[in-house]
Amino acid sequence: MYTKEMLESIKKVEANRVANAELEPRRMTAEEKETLLKTYHPDYKTDEFRVLSVGPNKGEKVPTELAALLQGKSRINTADIDLSKVDYDVDVLVIGGGGAGSSAAIEAHEAGANVMIVTKLRIGDANTMMAEGGIQAADKPNDSPAIHYLDAFGGGHFAAKPELLYTLVNEAPEAIKWLNDLGVEFDKTEDGTMVTTHGGGTSRKRMHAAKDYSGAEIMRTLRDEVLNRNIPVVDFTAAIELILDENGNAAGAVLLNMETEEILIARAKTVVIATGGAGRMHYQGFPTSNHYGATADGLVIAYRAGAKLLYADTLQYHPTGAAFPEQIFGALVTEKVRSLGAKLINVNGEAFMHPLETRDVSAASIIRECSDRNNGVDTGSGKGVWLDTPMIEMKGGEGTIEKRIPAMLRMFEKYGIDIRKEPILVYPTLHYQNGGLDITKDCMTTNIKNLFAAGEVVGGIHGRNRLMGNSLLDIIVFGRNAGKNAAAAAKNTTVGNLTLNHVDEFAKEAEEYCSGAVSPMLLPDYRNK
């Protein structure tokens, strides 16, 4: 499978493997990291960003592609929409069928609310399903929520909203217990001790996992639970605008059947946005590890309704996307591969960095190795560095890979690469939206009443960079809280007259800046490519 040049380089990787495996590369100092990020991290490429001219974040910069959608054209002509003809009338409307949306729906149902999920693909078609490595929680005796807080706060460049991070870390063990009680399997030893590992930037081993199907195991269980509760799931139906009531409170959504293009109206006492991330926007031309529907829809419809964004200018590029073969370009190679002992090696066989720096630092370091330092391996479509997977079995013994990361073994096996014997090529891939909707600790957006948000669509929980395993955690913790709070708020809410005036008002204000792009995007267009 590998080219002649790659095989030449592999010889150097093999020759140094024993020495590299034993080496504990020095961790970078705070100053080194800062310089590295400023020089090589994509978030610092100023010409890839644009300042917003309208809306609550006017004057702030966001990725150029996102700006075009935020200031884009609505999919509807409001005059054509009859808000008096309500197709769905519920207490709590959950938009998005991933981990956060499903958790919210389960808790809202538990609280007695009449709850419904709408999702533009199927329930479970979400980044949650693709999360491989694990979920953090400080539940070991040598660990504590306070240590977890410090790791995440520092890893996020001291920018997280403290009250959100407090909730994340202090409710983490309960989130794991809730999942386990629902029947989610976790890797455990015979006495029930959770098998935990490090992630980039953790100071304690607190990464819980279900092999390298952690997100899939969580998602399929949550989906099963939603179905067991007979919570209505309206699938292949996208929310394309939020509906407010005359008091400016969230009161439903305009829905679009993705197959028949029928427009439907959902009225709700409270709305939970759980639409996930934006990898399919391919910011700066990066490939992505995200699922097909990750197109920032929630940011767009909420922004148009007046919700504020926080840190929308910061994205996470996962350091180890597959760089070869081309068919899996950009697919996620879980950080757990490094947690288990594989190191990052350049074309000359040198371990050029500590394998468990935070993701932004690791990604920037790989980009440096492949650009200015010219130590990358030619992949045919770009550059990459080696992730020396055979080190895992040297460290953990034969069979470790099959037992702990079977999905990775399978992914490369399909292309004739045995990761137990050969290293793999990696390069950063667009992975996670650090920023998103600004929320209070009750999961309500800061400036639209009865509009709740949870999951990747939220900004501020992690600051400007997220640690591995804190996203599966946040969708559960904040998904559940959003569901409980939305159900409670629904009890005290009487919906006023429905309106879409905000859509027209926004369009008027945005007219001279409008790129012509129609938004939300809903799905990427890969035709004829």
Binding site: G124, G154, A210, M258, R527
Partner: protein, 224 residues
């Protein structure tokens, strides 16, 4: 430019680059996918696909996002398959042999044809995990079915009408909740948090100026 091959999408012929996956080939040909496309990465099971190479008798199955096109490949996607999903309360059921009998009695009609195993897009031993489920060996069933992406191809091939992915899922939930050992350290920590053990520590951290937090972060001890 890669070499081109002929593929037949739902019977219609298209010429596409040979290095593409079936999913990418459909898009290259001009399809705008809504159904049959989810994670594009082999985890969600949305893109179950059947195909036959012209002249071959054997009908093959795969995930469209994980399989490269071949010359003279006849492709039909299976974006939805009506699996039977029984509704139950996970807190009420118990991991007894009877529960499978109650919820999925058709598993006892398995005729041992092994079509499920032969058709699994993940290469799992499906018939074996159904056998474990029949015997109430849920731990083994959970382990054997663990990598299932619930694409439903096995069920489409089953003469007994078994919904294998749902059986595996039930076994995993029973195993995860009831059979796997309890984590005492987790229970203890949850109790400590309920007792408010960490509140003061955390509130203390929340109030510290960033300079002090930087100092703490940059000098924190990292477990080996």
């Amino acid at each position: 430019m890669a070499e081109m091959v002929n593929v037949f999408l739902f019977g219609k012929k298209y010429s596409v680059p040979s290095n593409l996956t079936i999913m990418r080939a459909m898009e290259y040909a001009g399809y705008s996918l809504v159904r049959g496309c989810g994670c594009r990465n082999g985890f969600c099971g949305a893109c179950a696909t059947v195909y036959r190479i012209k002249g071959d008798r054997e009908l093959k199955v795969c995930l469209a996002c994980q399989t490269k096109v071949e010359e003279n490949m006849y492709v039909a996607t299976l974006p939805f398959f009506p699996l039977v999903k029984q509704v139950y309360d996970i807190n009420e059921i118990k991991p007894t042999e009877q529960i499978m009998m109650q919820l999925y009695p058709e598993i006892y009609s398995c005729i041992g044809c092994n079509a499920c195993t032969k058709s699994c897009t993940q290469g799992l031993n499906v018939m074996q995990y159904i056998a474990y489920a029949q015997r109430g060996e849920y731990e083994k069933c959970a382990e054997e079915s663990f990598d299932c992406v619930m694409c439903g191809v096995c069920s489409s091939r089953c003469p007994a009408g078994i919904s294998h992915p749902q059986v595996g899922l039930l076994a995993r939930r029973l195993n995860g909740k009831y059979l796997a050992p309890k984590s005492e350290h987790l229970e203890a920590r949850v109790q400590e948090i309920k007792d408010g053990t960490f509140e003061e520590l955390l509130e203390n951290l929340m109030q510290k100026p960033v300079s002090e937090m930087k100092e703490l972060y940059n000098n924190r001890e990292i477990e080996k």
